[in-house]
Symmetry: C3
Subunit: 273 residues, 3 copies
């Protein structure tokens, strides 16, 4: 089922504007190229609006936000929304500082995002307008598990409904909902958390999937999550003795590069609630 | 013929100041080290001028320009010019936004660059003072091919003459001219376009080649283009099944690291018009 | 002896706030994850203070300092000091420009660092309040060797005493002193200097080691230096023909990821003076 979404990305090669953190930006660019999209970065307020206009999607990631890039996020966001581009928010560290929490909440007020993707703490922070996180990682109490799955599915559905955005809450188990349906996805490997930036890469790829599949946003989001998780599984199986998180990082992007529709359809592990 | 240029870089180990984008900056630094140069980055106006003074060359790349780094480009550029350092402009995204186009054009007005290196759209934008690009990639209509080669050689020669800089227009076929001669270079692999930053790496390496070979700038530029393309060919031949653009990135830098004069002389594919 | 220090990092997984340069920041994050710590980056003055409060350590690296991030360094530093977090300064390029030298010296005046880690030129600059460096690399005249070892040990001890910080002067031979004892460490490979950022990675890891071992700061610093150098040795032994500095970079982080206490204890090469 998801193969068509992947193939649309490879065919249309959407150009994605990323206003993103400088920690993982190189991996974001290479992951976008690997999945079939094309990246461009511009974060000056006087540049971002014009650059976003020539793109197909905008990925806003607040991982290293600052006083200069925040206005660029608002200006590019407004322009991209006007142009009906695919619009995604990755609220890195929302809940860890008031600047991050408030910026994310204000962006949500001013711009209607197609998708908001974050870990459990970040999504909970945005849903409640407050919260506490352990750095940029999810609070252990917040992890989605089989025990709290029904509750979390309901929570994500409700937040999707109230926000009007597809909500993608990713972790050991990934959830994606548009308020009606909720995908519960079990691809991926825990070792992906020992690499910086797999979440940032996913957000960029997800933006490309939504840009290339505008009629089925929720499915496009779910497809990108399965694809990324599956790439993590394939890369893990290709690790040799003595290899660690740095080589794993490279092999994940390689696996995205080599992913095809058949592999994705066979490897995707999800249920719909 | 080009081996002497490579060996000069390895012997003199020129220190190159890079005011460059944060997307590919790590690869730029490692590529410079791989080719035999030494990198330093500084982009605050109050730092860049003093830092550039202790260097042998300055590589200005406008890929993620902003209101703080633009003045640093002008100040460092003026100082480096005064000190007769190797001076290169990489006008990333010129034509994609007015900030980028205007900054590149204004830099050219205020500073005489030894080399301007860009893709076809960027170079055309600067030559005409206007233009449109598809993000940071070349417009398809602009690609140098055997069909339009004679026209493009003439175009590049003319722009080199009028600008007073060596013009390096890189793509599937690379052109480099000082206004008199034009190198037409056919090294490289199309897959290099699926990695972010091979162009940025080349610009930094090119600056090192010019800094280490100040008497023969055009040949130094051509040598660096052949070397980079050849590294892309060698790295491609070393790819294993299952590997993709992330491993390819690493193997290209590895191939630069291991390049020697004999390999370069034997592998360089160029004609002079 | 050092195994306990390593294991404390893996057990406590300290969260380290890095205000660092954008050249090597991705490797810094992956190296921190590899050693068992957890990274977070925040460099806006309005974000850094609050972010540092939820962390266990703060690593300030001035490699690409600017007018916006310098105030963030001071504010986060003051807050982290108040909270008794592990505090490290990496004065990249001190001596190469007055902005860098003055910022490092002013940070030392306002904040009492647990550790200052730099190369010989940087440390000498800070010790004397002036100096000259060849870019971000050490002046050749400054290299610690068997010839000047006794002198350099005394120098580092004295600077540690006068500054009240553990001084880690790293290079071909590494020195670490608290003013009383001085570790002389001979792990590592010269080829590590052909990769950008091994020093930056070490500073971040060192901060994690001090955060996880607050009772024995000097030993924690020495353990992290041995660990990093040993990772460089192991990675070097794993290099295949045709591989270069880019693959070496990945294999070093992989070796940090796979390092265990027994390997560290058996591989650490040091004397105490």
């Amino acid at each position: 089922m998801f193969s068509a979404y992947l193939e649309n990305v490879r065919e249309k090669s959407p150009l994605i504007h990323n206003i993103t953190n400088y920690v993982t930006v190189n991996d974001v660019a290479n992951a976008l190229l690997a999945c079939g999209g094309s990246p461009i970065m511009a974060d000056d307020p006087d540049d971002a609006e014009e650059i976003t206009a020539i793109c197909n999607g905008l990925n806003i990631n607040i991982g290293t936000l600052n006083s200069r890039t925040i206005p660029a996020m608002f200006r590019a966001g407004a322009r991209a929304y006007e142009l009906k581009h695919a619009l995604l928010l990755d609220p890195v560290g929302a809940g860890a500082s008031s600047l991050r929490t408030n910026t994310a909440l204000n962006l949500m007020k001013e711009i209607k995002f197609d998708v908001i993707r974050g870990n459990s703490s970040e999504i909970k922070t945005l849903a409640s307008g407050s919260g506490k996180t352990h750095g940029v990682d999810v609070d252990k109490a917040d992890v989605v598990s089989d025990e709290n799955l029904a509750f979390m599915v309901e929570f994500v559905k409700n937040f999707a409904k109230s926000s009007g955005s597809v909500i993608a809450l990713t972790g050991a188990i990934d959830l994606a909902s548009d308020g009606e349906k909720c995908f519960v996805i079990r691809n991926g490997r825990p070792e992906m958390g020992r690499i910086t930036g797999t979440g940032c890469q996913l957000s960029a790829i997800m933006t490309a999937y939504v840009a290339a599949n505008p009629e089925n946003k929720l499915e496009a989001v779910a497809a990108s999550i399965c694809m990324m998780g599956l790439a993590g599984e394939i890369a893990f199986s290709r690790l040799q003795p003595g290899e660690g998180n740095s080589t794993y990082r490279n092999k994940i992007i390689d696996a995205i590069y080599n992913m095809d529709g058949k592999t994705l359809d066979e490897g995707a592990k999800y249920e719909v609630f």
